[in-house]
Amino acid sequence: MTEYIATFYSHYGAVCFKKNCEKLGIGTKIMPVPRNLSSSCGTCVRFWMEQEFSEAALELNEELEQIVQVEGDSYRALYRSEE
């Protein structure tokens, strides 16, 4: 099981993403963004997937900022929205 974190521009975006993940059977936890990931104090969704990450496997919304893979204490960037 691989662990990922998605960050958002709004709390609403995080809630929508969480609901979509749950519909897809993906385990999630909604929480504040970890400080070592961002200086923003918004909401993120931590989620776990069996298969490799792919954008097509998730329903991404316009409030999504980035998705990273958790690798111990560090993160590997997988997706970032257009600025």
Partner: protein, 357 residues
């Protein structure tokens, strides 16, 4: 995660000590820091309002923005961003300031007032917490001011540069800048001590994301207590420092009670309603006035607009007789707070999508 918690508590302890020391060095009692009061004083110094007792360019504000800016640049976190409903944020900020000046302090000063024994701040705290609950209610119903976008670097740098201009005006003290000769505006630590305090607190607040609103919001939304512990740490260390300073100097820095508290009034209902408005508005803005200053230092132009809104709100509050005094709230102020709560509720409702969960 544990390190994050320790860092927040350590920063809170340091900030509490600095806040108490600023009073020792000359700031008004229980006003080591007050973002609302200091923005109001700066607005007055620039002539945006003409209340003669609250006019002074506060170096703490300059330091907070520049400290956060330097810390963000050093850690590669300075990013010019903006475009997330700036006019809505401006209006919210105006009413947040009106709420703060009903209570006579921002959330930061509310903690410092509690640490100084001011019982009136308990009513403020209750109202503030209820205001945050109201904001969270709308967050859960899909409230959003939509995303921000990348801006040219210069756009994010302008607000920190403006602080340097304010510092030059403070030091040069030209005739067109107003300086109070009596009242709270005349009480201040020396420029360089206040600036250093602001720089340190700004840097620490950027590093730890300390936010008076975020603490309660995260506790309610996620049962996450980290930010709230920073809040508690500020209270504890300011309280201990007040007791130590009182013992060492023979001047009481901790005066428990309700009547006769410095720059405060005893009307519990309006203390609570003022901070209700402030807490509610700050959740919709995404952070307390301190956090807005820090974000503006990180290049967030939406927060810079918010800070400008806070300054305009201060000017409006004094020009229209909305700000309270030690005598109590004014009739105009009560009407403005009720209008503010109505406006903030409408903004929250209009920017909420269908029920999110």
């Amino acid at each position: 995660m544990k390190n994050e918690k320790k860092a927040i508590v350590a920063a809170g302890l340091v900030i509490g000590v600095i806040s108490a020391l600023l009073v020792f060095f000359g700031n008004p009692v229980n006003m080591g820091f007050c973002i609302a009061c200091f923005l109001r004083d700066t607005a007055g110094a620039l002539g945006f309002h003409s209340a003669p007792v609250v006019q002074y360019i506060r170096p703490e504000i300059i330091g907070l923005v520049l400290g956060a800016c330097i810390m963000a640049m050093v850690s590669g976190e300075f990013k010019a961003r903006g475009g997330s409903a700036p006019v809505t944020r401006f209006i919210l900020a105006v009413f947040v300031m009106i709420g703060c000046l009903m209570f006579l302090g921002c959330p930061f000063r509310m903690i410092l007032r509690l640490a100084g024994g001011d019982g009136n701040a308990i009513f403020g705290f209750v109202g503030f917490a209820l205001g945050i609950f109201a904001g969270v209610f709308f967050l859960k119903r899909g409230y959003t001011l939509k995303r921000s976008y990348k801006m040219p670097a210069l756009e994010g740098q302008l607000f920190p540069v403006l602080q340097i201009v304010f510092l030059i005006l403070l030091v040069a003290a030209p005739a067109f800048i107003h300086f109070s000769t009596e009242g709270p505006g005349s009480l201040h630590a020396s420029i360089w001590i206040a600036l250093a305090a602001g720089l340190i607190v700004g840097g620490l607040a950027q590093k730890t994301r300390l936010c008076m609103v975020g603490g309660i919001r995260d506790a309610v939304l996620f049962r996450e207590w980290k930010l709230l512990m920073g809040f508690v740490a500020i209270f504890a260390s300011a309280l201990v420092m007040n007791l130590i300073l009182g013992a060492v100097t023979g001047t009481p820095f901790f005066n428990p009670g309700f009547a006769g508290q410095p720059v405060a009034h005893t009307d519990g209902l309006w203390n609570a309603l003022g901070m209700f408005l402030a807490g509610f508005g700050c959740v919709l803005l995404g952070g307390c006035p301190l956090r807005q200053l820090v974000l503006s230092g990180e290049g967030n132009t939406d927060s810079a607009v918010t800070v400008i809104g806070l300054m305009v709100g201060a000017a409006v509050a004094h020009n229209f007789g909305l700000a309270s005094s030690g005598e109590g709230p004014t009739s105009n102020g009560k009407i403005a707070v009720i209008i503010g709560i109505a406006v903030v509720t409408v903004i929250a409702f209009m920017n909420s999508r269908k029920k999110a969960d």
